[in-house]
C-alpha cells in the first residue's frame, strides 16, 4: 500500500475500515445468536439479540457519516475512493444482515410457543451455520484484503441456494403431512428465506471487496440456482 503524505489521511482510512470490521463482528454475532436461539428455542437469547439490533443501525449511520465526511474533506481518488465507498456499502449490507437476523429472532419467539418441529429445525440450523461461515469468510477477506478469498465466497453462492431448495421441499412435505403445522411451517419457511438472503448479502460484500481491491467488477454472471422452478 502506498503511504500518504498526510499521515493522518491513511490513518483515517484504516480507522474507517476497522470500524467496518467491528460492525462486521457485531453483525456476525447477531446472525450466530439468531441461529442458536432458533435451534435451541432459547427465548431469552432471542430477546437479547433483538434488543441489540439498534446498535448495528447506529454503527451504520456512524460509518456513513465518517465516509461522507472523508469524501467532503479529503476528496479521495481512485483506490482511496474505492476504500471509502466500499466501507459505506459493506456497512449497508451488514445492517441488512442484522435486520434479517432480528427477524429470525422474532420468529423464534413465535415458534417457541408451538410444538418443536423436529428434523426440519436441524436442517435449518445446518443451513444457518453454512450462511454464518460464509459471512465470516467474507469479512475475513475484507479484513485481510484477500481477493481470492472473496472470490471463493462469491463463486460458492449456489450452495446456500441448494440448501434452501432442499429445505423448501422438506417443509412442504412437513406441512402437507399435518395441516396443524402450517403456521409453524410458514414461519420456518421465512427463517430459511432470511438465511438465504443473508447469504446473498455475503455474496454482495464479496463483490464489493473484489471491486475495492482490483478496481474491476467480477466478470461473468453470478452462478444462480433457479429456486422457483417446480
Amino acid at each position: 500500500m502506498n503511504e500518504h503524505i498526510v499521515r493522518s489521511y491513511e490513518e483515517e482510512l484504516n480507522q474507517l475500515a476497522a470500524e467496518v470490521v467491528r460492525m462486521g463482528g457485531l453483525a456476525e454475532a447477531q446472525v450466530n445468536d439468531s441461529i442458536q436461539a432458533f435451534a435451541k428455542r432459547d427465548v431469552p437469547l432471542a430477546q437479547a439479540m433483538i434488543g441489540r439490533d439498534g446498535k448495528l443501525d447506529a454503527m451504520e449511520a456512524d460509518i456513513e457519516r465518517a465516509a461522507i465526511r472523508m469524501i467532503a474533506l479529503r476528496q479521495p481518488m481512485a483506490n482511496d475512493l474505492r476504500r471509502t465507498m466500499s466501507a459505506m456499502k459493506i456497512a449497508m449490507n451488514l445492517e441488512r444482515c442484522g435486520d434479517l437476523a432480528k427477524n429470525i429472532g422474532k420468529r423464534t419467539l413465535i415458534l417457541a410457543e408451538a410444538e418443536p418441529a423436529g428434523p426440519v429445525t436441524r436442517s435449518i440450523e445446518r443451513m444457518g451455520r453454512l450462511v454464518a461461515s460464509r459471512l465470516k469468510e467474507v469479512i475475513d477477506a475484507y479484513t485481510a484484503s484477500e481477493v481470492d478469498r472473496a472470490v471463493s465466497v462469491w463463486a460458492r453462492d449456489t450452495e446456500v441456494d441448494e440448501h434452501y431448495e432442499s429445505l423448501f421441499r422438506e417443509l412442504l412435505t412437513y406441512m402437507m403431512g399435518d395441516p396443524r403445522t402450517i403456521t409453524a411451517g410458514a414461519h420456518l419457511l421465512f427463517v430459511a428465506k432470511n438465511l438465504e438472503r443473508i447469504g446473498d448479502h455475503a455474496t454482495n460484500i464479496a463483490e464489493i471487496v473484489h471491486f475495492e481491491i482490483t478496481g474491476q467488477e467480477i466478470l461473468s454472471e453470478r452462478p444462480k440456482l433457479d429456486t422457483l422452478t417446480p
Partner: protein, 461 residues
C-alpha cells in the same frame, strides 16, 4: 518449571531468538514496572492458572520510572515461557480514547499469531478478533479496569469454542492503559456435550428398529411358532441379520465418535493415495465380484499423490466411498476411480452439464496449498438434487431405498466427512438422476518443506 526446561533442552536456538524478539515486549509491557521480568511472570502465571483475575494493579509498579534493564538477568526466561504457551496470550493498548476500533496489539504470543494470522507489530485488535463480546471485555479492562470472562465461537469450518479472559495490566506512569487478553480452547468440552445429546437422540432411534424386530420374533418363537421347525429356521436367520445390523451400527457409531474426538488434532504421517486405493480395491475384490461389478482404476505414478494423513482413516474414506459406489451400481456395472495431483483447493468442475453439484465440505482457505484429488464415480440411479445437501447427515438415507437394501447404517458418509475435515480437505458430489453419482475428495499434498513446522511459524518479525 518443566515447560521452560523442555523448551531450552529441545530448541535452544529458538528460545534465544524468542528472548530477542520479546525484548520490545518487555519494553512495552513491563515498561516502567520495577523488577523487569516480574510482570511477565505474572502474565505467565495468569495464562497458566488464571489466578490474576481481580488482582488490582500494584501501586509499586506504577511508581517506578526506572528504564528496564535490557535482557533480563533472571535465570527464568519468562518472555520465552509466555511466547511458548499453548493458549493464545495478547496484550492490548488503548490507543485513541473513544475509538473502539483503534485498540492495538502490542504483544501476541506464538499461539495467538498463528491462530489469528497476525503478521505485523501493532496490528489492530479488531483485525484479529471482532467478536463484540471479547471487544467489550477488553474495553472494560482498559477503561474500567475490570477483569472479566466470556465465551465465544470462532466460526468457520473448524468450529472452535473459546473462553476469553481480559484483565487490566499495570501500566507505566503516563503510558497508555494496557490489558491482558488470554484465550483458552474449550472446543472439546463443548463438542463432547453436543455429541452426547446427538448420540442419544439418533442412536436410540436407530437401534430400536432392529431391536423391535428381534423382540417380535422371540415372542413368536416362544408362542405360536414354538413347534414349527421351518418357521424357526427362517426367523433365526432374520434375527441374525438384525443382530448383525445392530453390531454394525454400534461399530460405526464408535468409530465416528473416535474420529470426532480427534477431529481438531492434525493427522501425522504420509499416505500415497494411489497405493491406498489399490489396497482397498484388492481387499474389496470378493464383495465386488459377488455383485458382478468391476472397478476401472488406473493408478497415477507412484508418490505423485502423497498426502498428509492417517493411513487407517484414509483407507476408511476410500473404502466407504467405493462401498457406496458398488452398492448403487447395477449388475455388470463399472465403478470408476481416479486419483490426480496437484489440484487446487476448489471443488473440481462438474463434468456432466445436466448434473447438480454441491460442495459438502470446503477446507478453510489457505493460500498456496496444493491438493490431491480422488474421484469415485458409479453409474447407478444417481441422486435427486434436493438429497445432496443432506448426504453427510447422520442416519440420512436417500428416500425410496428398498427396505431390503438398507444394509447400510446411514453413517458412512458422515464418517468420511469427519475424517476429511480432520485432514483439512474437502468433499463434493455431482449427480444426475439416472446417470450415477461422482464423489470427489481433495486432501492437502504432503510436501518436503512444510511450513506447519512450528518453528517456521514462530519466526519473529
Amino acid at each position: 518449571m518443566p515447560l521452560e526446561n523442555e523448551a531450552v533442552r529441545h530448541r535452544p536456538t529458538l528460545v534465544v531468538g524468542l528472548v530477542g524478539a520479546a525484548a520490545p515486549l518487555a519494553l512495552a509491557v513491563v515498561g516502567q514496572s520495577e523488577p523487569g521480568p516480574a510482570m511477565l511472570a505474572a502474565a505467565a502465571v495468569a495464562a497458566l492458572g488464571w489466578v490474576l483475575s481481580g488482582r488490582p494493579p500494584s501501586p509499586a509498579a506504577v511508581a517506578s520510572p526506572v528504564p528496564p534493564a535490557a535482557p533480563p538477568s533472571d535465570p527464568m526466561p519468562y518472555a520465552a515461557i509466555v511466547e511458548e504457551l499453548e493458549d493464545p496470550v495478547m496484550v492490548v493498548e488503548a490507543g485513541t480514547p473513544g475509538e473502539a476500533a483503534g485498540r492495538r496489539l502490542v504483544f501476541a504470543n506464538a499461539a495467538a499469531r498463528t491462530l489469528f494470522r497476525i503478521q505485523r507489530q501493532d496490528a489492530r485488535l479488531i483485525t484479529a478478533i471482532r467478536n463484540p463480546q471479547v471487544i467489550e471485555l477488553v474495553d472494560e479492562a482498559l477503561i474500567g479496569g475490570i477483569s472479566g470472562h466470556g465465551a465465544f465461537e470462532a466460526g468457520g469450518a473448524h468450529d472452535r469454542v473459546w473462553t476469553a479472559a481480559a484483565q487490566p495490566l499495570a501500566a507505566g506512569a503516563g503510558g497508555p492503559p494496557l490489558a491482558l487478553l488470554v484465550l483458552r480452547d474449550q472446543t472439546d468440552l463443548r463438542r463432547a456435550e453436543r455429541m452426547r445429546a446427538d448420540f442419544l437422540a439418533n442412536a436410540s432411534h436407530e437401534l430400536r428398529t432392529p431391536l423391535a424386530s428381534l423382540t417380535g420374533f422371540i415372542e413368536t418363537l416362544r408362542g405360536p411358532a414354538r413347534d414349527d421347525a421351518g418357521a424357526r429356521e427362517k426367523f433365526l436367520g432374520i434375527m441374525q441379520t438384525q443382530a448383525e445390523r445392530m453390531a454394525r451400527l454400534i461399530d460405526d457409531l464408535m468409530s465416528l465418535s473416535r474420529i470426532e474426538l480427534n477431529e481438531h488434532i492434525a493427522p501425522q504421517g504420509r499416505v500415497d493415495l494411489a497405493m491406498a486405493v489399490t489396497d482397498v480395491a484388492d481387499a474389496l475384490t470378493p464383495v465386488i465380484r459377488g455383485r458382478g461389478v468391476s472397478i476401472d482404476w488406473a493408478p497415477p505414478e507412484r508418490g505423485a499423490a502423497t498426502v498428509e494423513g492417517d493411513r487407517d482413516q484414509i483407507i476408511q474414506v476410500i473404502q466407504n466411498l467405493i462401498d457406496n459406489a458398488v452398492k448403487y451400481s447395477p449388475r455388470d456395472g463399472v465403478v470408476r476411480v481416479e486419483v490426480s495431483a496437484p489440484a487446487g483447493g476448489d471443488p473440481p468442475a462438474i463434468r456432466d452439464p445436466d448434473a447438480a453439484g454441491l460442495t459438502l465440505l470446503a477446507p478453510d482457505h489457505r493460500p498456496g496449498e496444493r491438493y490431491a484429488l480422488l474421484r469415485i464415480s458409479d453409474f447407478g440411479p444417481g441422486l435427486a438434487r434436493d438429497a445432496l445437501p443432506r448426504l453427510t447427515e447422520r442416519f440420512y438415507r436417500v428416500e425410496g431405498q428398498k427396505s431390503g437394501d438398507r444394509s447400510g447404517t446411514g453413517l458412512g458418509l458422515a464418517i468420511v466427512k469427519h475424517i476429511v475435515n480432520r485432514h483439512r480437505g474437502g468433499i463434493s458430489v455431482e449427480s444426475a438422476e439416472g446417470r450415477g453419482a461422482t464423489f470427489s475428495v481433495w486432501l492437502p499434498l504432503a510436501t518436503a518443506d512444510r511450513t506447519t513446522d512450528p518453528e517456521a511459524v514462530v519466526k519473529p518479525s
